[in-house]
Symmetry: C4
Subunit: 275 residues, 4 copies
């Protein structure tokens, strides 16, 4: 395993920690919800934090899991109960490289009323034409609504199908992406879309974009100037509240030096911003 | 009275001060509202702050009361007018170890319109199947709506019955718990539930979870990884705005040393977070 | 003019600057709106800031006006255009000692739809049984909706009558009080009431408190433990964002010493809070 | 090109950077949206930032464009895709000196439901009697909804006509002004107006101001005491979160000196506020 691979995994872990905090700060995640990424060099593994609120996640919290959602190394900490959401989707969708499960306030009214979220503005098209609706009760009867058994995870993955997101009855939503940055943008824009759709109801019956518009506007968030602009914006908003994650820690470096280099990195970032 | 008991009461007081501030920061309490805990070693006493807004409460503000809501020691400060809410519930419900009375914006529309809050998402099940509705006017005619007389407190406790929460007409809500952390989670999730239920009305007529789901999802907030995750999250959010309460002060320690050790403790907490 | 009078005016000015900032921070005032107090020793004068956004007002901004809303000393700065609101109400209502004119987002839907705000929860009773509705257009035809002419101010004062607040068509509200602290509480609670009333509409037709309840609950905000608690809470919230006004400046003290004593006062306040 | 012209362009650039940040902080702009100003000495040019989120824009980000929306100097950074909105409006409207394109949450429900925003309170009159509605689909069929081709920009400018703002179907709004400060006020007040109009719908059918009122109230935001007050307020709110832009950098000054003078300027501004 050479230096490039090591760098790949380190930067994937750092990006994932940052994605967790961005999604928390932008109102998609709160005490709950989780984000994972498929392992950059081993497609049969994925990376996910130990059980911790997304706003607080650090690189050192992130663990490696098999697609059966078993930790690769014996865990020293509590794990998320709903890991199978991630593992089962990575099994069913080889094209998916990042997954987010959340209970954002913006989508909850739709999950509760059982009504579809449809793209009603250009950036909302990032979610695709529709998000299917999955009711755990239909197949499994009364549960605590958590998706914890492999068969529950597989059922959810089937409901997701080829779509970009799936609504979960009285529970929340699960969103997938081709990469972490696309996933973050899709999750944020889908929440904005849900909020606008709900408030537009007071004025009339909002209709979705035309099918051709959805197809074309759906790729907006992959435009280089959009990716660059949004990622800088969300990161800077986080930095402004002192919320950026510390850097990950190479196994042998003494802690004190790490802390020093984290502070130096923060100084560098601040300086870079001033330039 | 040995060291263990002393530690028990000190830690109960510190947890209660923190719970007050968390509930204020998470939008359940504002200038008003109060939280109490049953005395950890004497079930005929409870602990409650002097009259002060919950966001500002420090361990030194917390006083001991009999179940008749009389202060055990002559108070040097003004007291909450509605202490009987706490005393009467502790008398009627030996199983209840923590009580919160609040006027959270999320529940007020229901208290005003006289409509029930029902669990509409998994975490909302923490409130149980239903919260009864109590109207002070029915039994006592026109009042200033504060619950100040023992007979008013007893009437409210009767309305609460075996439930976990009771809505109070045009006034607010009272929530109970088996312990402080469960109470905090229940109060926060019930407010989220009320908010989602109200907004879901724009889309249709939201139905409650199935009875079996309520029973099973109702214990989610007692799962160890949930308790750990939420308490860390809410505490860290508070710390981020400099809002953690100072530590409580042993009777003989000089003030200066105390301030020093409070700063040291804050440093420790910050360090612990970095690890 | 002895020291006591000087102290009276200094403390009235400091309280008024603080009231401006509290009302701005609690969402009643924004870039616009203003608060005045009747002069503590001369009932034919009132105190009001020069034209400045309330969140930024300092004791040195506060000027003295006659009840005809003329500045007592030639002003060196721009003045609020709508001063007559204050002067005309002080002329018509000898009992009124403080006035606030605002366009709080919470009341605007009612001012725009021409629907009454009525007390729907205990603290909302601070506004009294009803707030009359005034439409400048009825008497003056098309204007820019500002209340700038003495006859406009007198018309508004007539509409206010013996009430505690008056709604102004498509413009905002004006609230009066027996003193600054009561006025601040009344304005804040009336905004909360309007917000709850509007959101309760989604659930049904909210009815006002019973008349006897309004009478009794209407004095809640004058209870000593309520006044103490709310004023501490609102001030501390402001202090937490560094928003407390500087102290007022005696004419002869050098500026440097003043700045020093302001910092010392801030230190004292922080220390007092820790105790 | 003399010193005065240089000063004119420097101060135009600094005002534009500040306007971007104010509009972002006041909730009109987010990761997206942009603001431009016509060049102060060459009416055939306009100034606009490189592709960057408005909250982060610095004077050094601002570039010069021809009215065909081509950068005057070869750009070293990515550019906004929708520059033609600005260029085409400056071509069609010689009276317009500032343009803002945004997707503010407050206007989105109207853009989605296809319903008009009308002035419902005095400050809302800044938008004029009505904002026309433009649907890109009508003329261009399915697109990604971005306005990127010159013919799309010209079509939008035609729809704007002599008005102050135009709504764009399922996309956002574009607002114009006689100068940057008027534009900022108009954009902010129009968003407040949209928010109030939407919430007033729960109470009835809000009617616009009388035509004469719109005409007279429409100039309120140009009153000297209003311009001074709002600009100070919005700037100070931004400064309170450390969000003021750095000063622009003369070509030859060494960076270190610049940073020093930026800090000195910040100190000066803080001092000025204390006075």
């Amino acid at each position: 395993m050479g230096g490039t691979v090591l760098n790949g995994i380190t930067s994937a872990i750092e990006e994932l920690a940052l994605a967790n905090r961005i999604l928390a700060h932008e109102g998609v995640l709160d005490a709950f919800g989780h984000v994972s990424v498929r392992h950059p060099s081993n497609p049969d593994r994925y990376l996910l934090s130990r059980s911790r609120s997304p706003l607080l996640i650090e690189p050192d919290d992130i663990l490696e899991f098999t697609l059966d959602s078993e930790p690769v190394r014996p865990p020293k900490a509590l794990l998320y109960a709903e890991r199978v959401i991630h593992g089962c989707i990575y099994q069913a969708r080889r094209d998916v490289l990042a997954v987010c499960h959340h209970h954002a306030p913006a989508v909850m009214p739709f999950c509760i009323a059982g009504k579809p979220i449809v793209p009603v503005f250009h950036l909302g098209a990032a979610m695709g034409e529709e998000a299917p609706f999955w009711d755990q009760y239909d197949e499994f009867g009364a549960t605590n609504l958590l998706v914890v058994k492999p068969e529950e995870g597989r059922s959810l993955a089937r409901a997701l199908g080829r779509h970009s997101a799936v609504l979960m009855n009285r529970h929340g939503a699960t969103v997938v992406g081709d990469n972490v940055k696309q996933l973050v943008a899709r999750a944020i824009f889908m929440c904005q879309n849900a909020d606008y759709q709900l408030r537009a109801l007071a004025l009339g019956s909002p209709q979705p974009l035309h099918r051709g518009e959805i197809k074309m506007a759906g790729t907006l968030s992959a435009m280089p100037n959009v990716v660059t602009r949004t990622w800088e914006y969300w990161s800077m908003r986080l930095e402004a509240i002192g919320g950026l994650p510390p850097r990950s820690m190479p196994a042998k470096a003494p802690r004190r030096a790490m802390a020093r280099s984290a502070r130096a990195a923060a100084r560098e970032r601040r300086k870079a911003r001033r330039r």
